[in-house]
C-alpha cells in the first residue's frame, strides 16, 4: 500500500456519541495513569547508585545500614524487578505512594495536605488569566488599530515574562510601592491575589495570542456580517458571537494551561511562600526525596489528565460541532 494517510478531513474523524466518548476518554485516563506510574517507577530505578539510598535522599543522606535495610525490605528491592514493579502498582492502586524520608510521613498524606492550595491557586489563576485575556481582547478589538497593536504587544511581552521576575516586579509595585497587597501569601482571598496574578499574566498572554488569531478569523466570518446586517451592535456581536468563537481554541489550551500553571506554581509558591505542591516538589527535589518527587509528579499527572478531560468536555459544550454528527 501507499501512504496510510487518512482520506479527507470530513471522513476522517468519527464523532462517537457522548457516552461512548466519555468511556473512551476515561479509559484513556486510566491508561495515561498506568503509563505515568510506569515511567516514574523506572525513573526511580534510573537514579544512579543504590535505589535504597536514592529513596533516602542520595549519597549525601548518610543513611545508616539499618535504614537502608528497612527501605530495601519495604520496597522489596531484593526482589526481581518485575515483582517490584507489580508491588509498586499494587500499592498505587490502594493509594499508597510510599514514605517520604524528608517529611517523615506517607507521601499520600503530604500531598493531600498540599494539593488543595495548589489547586485553588491554579484554578484562580486560570480564571484570572481568562478574564485578563478576554478583557484585553475586548478592549483591543474595539479600540481600533492602535489598541490592537498595544493589545498584541502586551500579550507578547506577558507571554515572554518569566514568573519569578514578574513576581518580583509585582511585589515591588503592589506591596512596597503601593502597599495594598501582601507580598507573601496570607490567609484569605487577599493573599492569593499576587500569586495568582503572577501565574495568570503570562498565561493570559498565551491565551490572548491564541484568541487573537481566531478572533480575527471570527470577526471576518460571514456570520458577523449577517449579524451586523440584522442590526446588532458591535458590542453585542463581540460578546455574543466572536468571543465564543475566539475562545474555542483557547479553551482547548486550558488543559495545557493547567499544566503550565502547576509548573509555574513551583516557582510562584516559593517566591510567595505559599503552601502547595509546587513548593513541596521543589524542596523534595533539593533534598532528593525521590519518593516524594515521583508521588507529586504522579498526582499532578492525574490532575492534569482529569483537567484535560474537563476541558474536552467544556470544548464539547462550547462547540457543538465537536459532537454533532453532520446530517
Amino acid at each position: 500500500m501507499t501512504l496510510p494517510v487518512p482520506t479527507t478531513g470530513a471522513r476522517r474523524r468519527p464523532a462517537p456519541g457522548n457516552r461512548r466518548w466519555l468511556l473512551l476518554r476515561a479509559g484513556g485516563v486510566v491508561f495515561v495513569l498506568w503509563a505515568a506510574a510506569t515511567i516514574t517507577f523506572f525513573a526511580l530505578r534510573l537514579v544512579p547508585g543504590d535505589p535504597a539510598e536514592a529513596i533516602l535522599g542520595g549519597p549525601g543522606s548518610q543513611a545508616g545500614p539499618e535504614a537502608l535495610d528497612q527501605v530495601r525490605r519495604e520496597y522489596g528491592l531484593d526482589q526481581p524487578l518485575v515483582v517490584q514493579y507489580l508491588t509498586y502498582l499494587g500499592r498505587l492502586a490502594t493509594g499508597d505512594l510510599g514514605q517520604s524520608y524528608s517529611l517523615h510521613k506517607p507521601v499520600a498524606t503530604a500531598i493531600g495536605e498540599q494539593f488543595g492550595a495548589t489547586l485553588a491557586l491554579a484554578l484562580c489563576s486560570l480564571a484570572l488569566a481568562w478574564a485578563l485575556a478576554c478583557a484585553l481582547a475586548a478592549w483591543s478589538v474595539r479600540g481600533g488599530r492602535i489598541a490592537w497593536a498595544i493589545g498584541s504587544g502586551l500579550e507578547l511581552v506577558a507571554a515572554a515574562v518569566p514568573h519569578f521576575w514578574l513576581a518580583t516586579v509585582l511585589i515591588l509595585f503592589f506591596s512596597i510601592t503601593l502597599g495594598i497587597l501582601p507580598p507573601v501569601s496570607v490567609p484569605g482571598p487577599l493573599g492569593i491575589v499576587l500569586p495568582a496574578l503572577t501565574l495568570a499574566i503570562p498565561l493570559a498572554g498565551f491565551l490572548g495570542q491564541v484568541m487573537r488569531e481566531s478572533l480575527l478569523t471570527a470577526m471576518e466570518s460571514p456570520f458577523v456580517t449577517t449579524a451586523r446586517a440584522r442590526g446588532e451592535s458591535e458590542a453585542r456581536i463581540f460578546w455574543r458571537h466572536t468571543l465564543r468563537h475566539a475562545a474555542i481554541p483557547a479553551v482547548g489550551l486550558s488543559g495545557w494551561a493547567f499544566g503550565s500553571l502547576i509548573s509555574g506554581a513551583v516557582v510562584v509558591e516559593s517566591v510567595f511562600a505559599r503552601q502547595g505542591l509546587g513548593r513541596s516538589l521543589l524542596s523534595a527535589v533539593q533534598l532528593r526525596d525521590v519518593t516524594l518527587v515521583t508521588g507529586i509528579v504522579l498526582v499532578v499527572a492525574l490532575a492534569y489528565t482529569v483537567m484535560t478531560l474537563v476541558t474536552d468536555l467544556a470544548d464539547r459544550a462550547i462547540d457543538p460541532r465537536v459532537r454533532a454528527v453532520p446530517q
Partner: protein, 280 residues
C-alpha cells in the same frame, strides 16, 4: 475589522512589519552577542571590581554593576551566548526527539502511530517543569541536565504538532497529485512531506527558543541550572533577586534580556509562520 486583517495580510508580504523589523534587529543583536560578544562589550564579564560594587546604571556602566562590581551590561551581552546556547540546545533536543516521534507516528503504520501517540500523550500528562524536575532528580542538577530536561519536557508538545503537521502534509492534495503521477512513498516523504514539515519545524524552533530560554532561566532561578558566576541570564536574575530591595538594576536588565529575546523570537517565528501559511 478587515483593516486589522489588512495589517496581517500585509505581514504576509515579504516586507516585515515594524514589530518584525524590531524583533529581527533584537535577534540579530543577540546573535552577534552570542557569537562575537566582544564586538558589543569588550570587557570581561567575570572581572571583579569590589570598589565598583552595586553601582547604578550610568554612562560608565550602562546597566550598572552587581555585587562584585562586575559590569552588568557586559554580563548580559556575554550571557547571550550562554543563555542562547542552552536555549538552542534544549530546543534542538526537544524538536529532534519530537521529529522522530512525530514522523514515526505520522508516517508509520497505524499500530505504531497508536503506540507513539499514546506515549506522547503520557509524556504530555507531565507538566513541563515537572518532567524537567523529575529528570533532574534522576540525573542531578546542572547546566547540561537542566538543558536536557527542558528539551525532554518540551518534546511531547512539539511531537504532537509535528505529527499533525506530518499527517496534514501527507494527506494534502498535492501528495495525492504526486501519487497519481506515480510517485513512490519514499519519494513523497523526501520531496514533499519532509520539506514542508521542515518549514514548520523552523517556526516551531523559533517560537520554542524563547520559551526554552525562559524555562532554563527558571531552573537556574530554582538553583537547578546554570550557576554563578556564569553570566547566564537566569542565574544573574536569581542572584540579583536577593538584592531587589535596594538594587533593582541587577534583576531588571537580565530580565529585560530574557523578555526581549523570548518576545523577539516569538514575533519572528510567527512572522515566518504567517508567510508559510499563506504560501501553503
Amino acid at each position: 475589522m478587515s483593516r486589522l486583517r489588512g495589517a496581517v495580510v500585509r505581514a504576509t508580504a515579504f516586507r516585515p512589519t515594524a514589530a518584525e523589523a524590531i524583533a529581527g534587529v533584537v535577534l540579530a543583536l543577540l546573535l552577534v552577542a552570542a557569537l562575537w560578544p566582544n564586538l558589543l562589550a569588550p570587557g570581561d564579564p567575570l572581572a571583579v571590581s569590589r570598589a565598583e560594587a552595586f553601582r547604578p546604571p550610568s554612562p560608565a556602566h550602562l546597566f550598572g554593576t552587581d555585587e562584585s562590581g562586575r559590569d552588568i551590561y557586559t554580563r548580559v551581552v556575554h550571557g547571550a551566548a550562554e543563555s542562547l546556547r542552552i536555549g538552542v540546545l534544549a530546543t534542538a533536543i526537544g524538536i529532534g526527539l519530537a521529529t522522530v516521534l512525530g514522523f514515526v507516528a505520522g508516517l508509520g503504520p497505524r499500530w505504531l502511530d497508536f503506540g507513539t501517540t499514546r506515549l506522547v500523550e503520557v509524556l504530555f500528562a507531565f507538566p513541563g517543569l515537572l518532567l524537567a524536575l523529575l529528570f533532574i532528580v534522576v540525573t542531578g542538577p546542572g547546566v547540561l541536565s537542566s538543558t536536557i530536561a527542558v528539551g525532554l519536557a518540551t518534546a511531547p508538545g512539539y511531537a504532537r504538532i509535528i505529527r499533525s503537521q506530518v499527517r496534514r502534509t501527507a494527506a494534502a492534495e498535492f501528495v495525492e497529485a504526486a501519487r497519481v503521477l506515480g510517485r513512490g512513498r519514499f519519494w513523497i516523504i523526501t520531496r514533499h512531506v519532509l520539506p514542508n514539515v521542515t518549514a514548520a519545524l523552523f517556526v516551531l524552533a523559533t517560537l520554542g527558543l524563547g520559551q526554552a530560554v525562559i524555562w532554563v532561566s527558571s531552573l537556574s532561578y530554582l538553583g537547578l541550572g546554570a550557576v554563578p558566576p556564569a553570566a547566564e541570564w537566569g542565574a544573574m536574575l536569581a542572584a540579583g533577586r536577593t538584592y531587589i530591595a535596594n538594587f533593582w538594576w541587577m534583576t531588571f536588565f537580565p530580565g529585560l534580556a530574557i523578555v526581549a529575546s523570548a518576545a523577539a523570537a516569538t514575533v519572528v517565528g510567527r512572522g515566518i509562520q504567517k508567510r508559510n501559511r499563506s504560501a501553503a
